[in-house]
Amino acid sequence: MLDLFFQQLINGLSLGALYALIAVGYTVVYGIVQLINFAHGEIFMVGAFGAFATWMLLGQPTDWGVSASLLILLPLMLLGGIVVSVTVALLTERFAYRPLRNAPRLAPLITAIGVSVFLQEFVRLFYGRIPGFPDAKSAIPFPSVAGISGEIVRIGSVTIQMPALFTIVALAISTLFLWFFVNRSKTGRAMVATSQDPDTARLMGINVDKVIVAAFAVGAGLAAIAGVAHGLNYGNIDFRMGFLAGLKAFTAAVLGGIGNINGAVVGGLVLGVVEAMATTFIPGQFGSSAWKDVWAFALLILVLVFRPQGLLGAKVVDRA
């Protein structure tokens, strides 16, 4: 029983790490422009496809050794995914959201839904049109990276899949990087200032446009890492994968307190663990994995009722 608990804890943490990586993007953008970037799930999806494209451009290497894969292939795929994600995110910011900065808040939210549908369809229809690329209308098998894919680590009776470990490590490194970025870099501090009070920040000489761009870029970069992690964990990528992942990540962001970066990380991990535990420890038919999404969303609703500011708390924004 205890072994099962630790096994599910590890499974939950790796799932949660994936949510957390995406959730940071929601939280950073919301903290600064009070926009629920509904299309963020699609940025994550685009990142995974970008990484896949990088692998295609490298000549579809399948026989690289462990060190070559870990030191060259994986970083290049991550980089490719990040470049694609950040580019797409900045394009949507520039052409879809920026013109609506002072519009009533319904307008950007509806735009975000439109962007989300558009990106999904764009990938579905046009990814396969790139010469040599597989058709994206159904799931594409994600390349395996030697040293990660299929490898496992055993600690006692607990089995850890290497891709799961990769996700957790990626989250740890990203969180460290984020901490330095937010607390030590000029842009990061400008981001904090803008989220606290955009008008005063502007008066202090902060270029708010630049800060917003930076927020979108940081979120998109982490989402791309999550995209690669998703591909490695599940073995395939799909143009639809951003919807549910995005929704879960948003739940995680709210859980931790939207606008709070640490909260997003904690919220993601908690959500992942809750999901994993629910499928194991809820007795009877309702404990089957078919219900795990229901439990995750039920958690979201419960949090909003009893602690709308989230676990770690955030300023409750009311721009009425």
Partner: protein, 576 residues
């Protein structure tokens, strides 16, 4: 894109421009007697000499309008008298010319695509193109006309009623004609023509005049609109294909109208609204006489409708009570999550992952047609010598439901509750400070909107014959929201138009179906940038979206003043 031509140039070239424009219009009129295409496969056969197709007969309306608009002013200002200022002759001719050019281009493109190649365009097509180009190039050189004053012309009541009736007849004819175009090219060409006609009528001030006539004769307008909608099945001659589309449009529109209360009046963004429709549909399916229904309780339909609506509104309360206290953005996501919970739950209640209620992803098939006081909705019958099929029965039933929804909506809109809702939408804190019970009112809107969707869902279950969970995915919620946003939040007419466009176009443009969602996404983005208030703008909303635009604010204010001066002051709410 606006090409600026200086006033001087316009004055200098006004006579040649008029002459060239008239030549263009005449050329286009002549062109309908010439064949437009070699071969008969495009635009429903436009390949004859001297025998225009119905489409060409419709098309000729625009060139004739241009001809009249350009030629009549030639008789001189004196003889025209007050009409010289009542009609915006030049500006309307300009609009009509551009609309005609667009229609011709779409028509020729359809010929070229459907018959594979530009060579298939015959002499008539080229004549029309040259004519349209001449008119479109020449008319911008005419001096601008002052704003038309047609709307301010005092007219007797009988004339106003006649205007309303004529407009409704036109709408009926256009709808029937458009739906009967089975060919996508012909359909698109006709739609372009219709849009052109509407734009020209607006430019002429006819729309404003009809608007005032409608406001003065509210009952006549409403009755005429319903009579028109009621008469529609008689134009279809028993064709099930079109009636099926029409009844689907009405079900969709009913749900969109329900959502319109929640989003348009109260400003609560609900992204899981389809779940309420689904709740109604599943309730009705489970209580129906279907062999696959899982409950042994089959009350008559009237009871089923009430139960469906109640179940949906209970779900609305269940989801609304905890979440309506949080701010708007959260609500959007929570409702979205709720929509997913609903779909997954319906999928899981299959006897394997949970108790068997819905047969899981197979859903409940074989739902029998409605029985109502001994009248079976599945039976076809003949009324006034016209075949009326199964879908026409459902169409009329949905028409009734929509009438009910509209009456509720309009009455609420002008009531204490409705004003409370609008106050919440505009500024919730201020509304609360003024003593509006915001929580109760929001909950009422949520539950009420859910009830309407539940009722529509109950009819949908019988109409579609089967109910499955995958009919109620998030995309359907997005479509409903798009119908409200596209048409115009908070307006009835707008939402009806939006629902029609979103349901009808995909049915008629099947060759396009792969790109449907891509365009849908793009449309949402573009719409929010350039016309966030929708096709039919609610005046207050328009102000909200353009609050920096002083000119527009003054324009709307003026319009409101002149508009309300025409209304009888004792008119309060809405009655039927």
């Amino acid at each position: 894109m606006r090409v600026i031509i200086s006033d001087e140039t316009k004055v200098r070239f006004r006579y040649p421009a008029r002459a060239v424009g008239i030549v263009g219009a005449v050329l286009m009129i002549v062109s309908i007697f010439l064949p437009w295409s070699y071969g008969s496969g495009a635009l429903d056969d436009v390949g004859f000499y001297g025998a225009p197709s119905p489409l060409q007969f419709a098309f000729v309306v625009l060139p004739v309008l241009i001809l009249l608009l350009l030629a009549i002013p030639l008789v001189g200002k004196q003889r025209l008298g007050q009409w010289a200022k009542t009609v915006a002759w030049n500006t309307s001719a300009k609009t009509a010319s551009l609309a005609t050019l667009a229609t011709v281009l779409i028509g020729l493109a359809a010929i070229a695509i459907e018959l594979k190649g530009l060579v298939n365009i015959d002499v008539g097509g080229f004549t029309a193109l040259v004519g349209a180009l001449l008119a479109a190039v020449a008319t911008p050189f005419l001096p601008d006309s002052p704003e038309p004053t047609l709307a301010r012309v005092k007219s007797p009541t009988w004339l106003q009623i006649l205007g309303i009736v004529l407009m409704m007849a036109g709408v009926l004819f256009a709808a029937a004609f458009a739906l009967n175009q089975t060919d996508a090219g012909a359909f698109l060409t006709f739609v372009a023509f219709l849009v052109g006609v509407v734009l020209v009528l607006r430019q002429l001030g006819v729309m404003a005049w009809i608007g005032i006539a409608g406001a003065n004769n509210n009952r006549v307008l409403v009755l005429a609109a319903f009579a028109t909608a009621f008469a529609f099945p008689f134009t279809q001659n028993g064709s099930d294909a079109n009636m099926s589309i029409a009844s689907q449009v009405l079900i969709f529109a009913a749900a969109a109208l329900g959502l319109n209360i929640v989003v348009g009046l109260v400003g609560l963004l609900d992204l899981g609204y389809i779940a309420f429709l689904g709740a109604g549909a599943f309730t009705a399916a489970i209580l129906s006489e279907s062999a696959f229904s899982t409950l042994d309780f089959h009350p008559p339909f009237i009871v089923v409708v009430l139960i469906s609506g109640t179940v949906a509104s209970l779900l609305g309360l269940l989801i609304g009570a905890p979440t309506l206290r949080v701010s708007g953005d959260y609500l959007a996501i929570v409702t979205l999550a709720f929509g997913e919970i609903f779909r997954i739950t319906m999928n899981n209640l299959d006897g394997n992952d949970g108790p068997n209620l819905t047969n899981g992803s197979n859903g409940i098939p074989g739902i029998p047609d409605l029985e109502f006081l001994g009248f079976n909705f599945g039976d076809a019958h003949v009324i006034f010598g016209v075949d009326i099929g199964r879908f026409a029965n459902y169409y009329w039933l949905m028409l009734l439901v929509i009438a009910l929804i509209i009456v509720v909506f309009m009455n609420l809109n002008y009531s204490r509750i409705g004003r409370g809702w609008v106050a919440i939408r505009e500024d919730e804190l201020a509304a609360e400070a003024m003593g509006v019970n915001t929580f109760a009112l929001k909950l009422l809107a949520f539950a009420g909107g859910a009830f309407l969707a539940g009722v529509a869902g109950a009819v949908k279950a019988h109409h579609d014959v089967s109910v499955t969970p995958d009919q109620y995915v998030f995309l359907e919620s997005a479509f409903l929201l798009a119908a409200v946003v596209l048409g115009g939040m908070g307006t009835v007419v707008g939402v009806l138009i939006g629902a029609t466009i979103l349901k009808l176009l995909p049915e008629k443009l099947r060759f396009f179906s792969d790109y449907r969602l891509l365009l849908f996404g793009l449309l949402m983005v573009v719409m929010m940038q350039f016309r966030p208030e929708g096709i039919v703008a609610d005046e207050r909303r328009q102000m909200e979206f353009h609050d920096e635009d002083e000119e527009l604010a003054e324009e709307i204010e003026e319009e409101l003043i002149s508009h309300h001066a025409h209304l009888n002051p004792e008119r309060r709410g809405f009655d039927l």
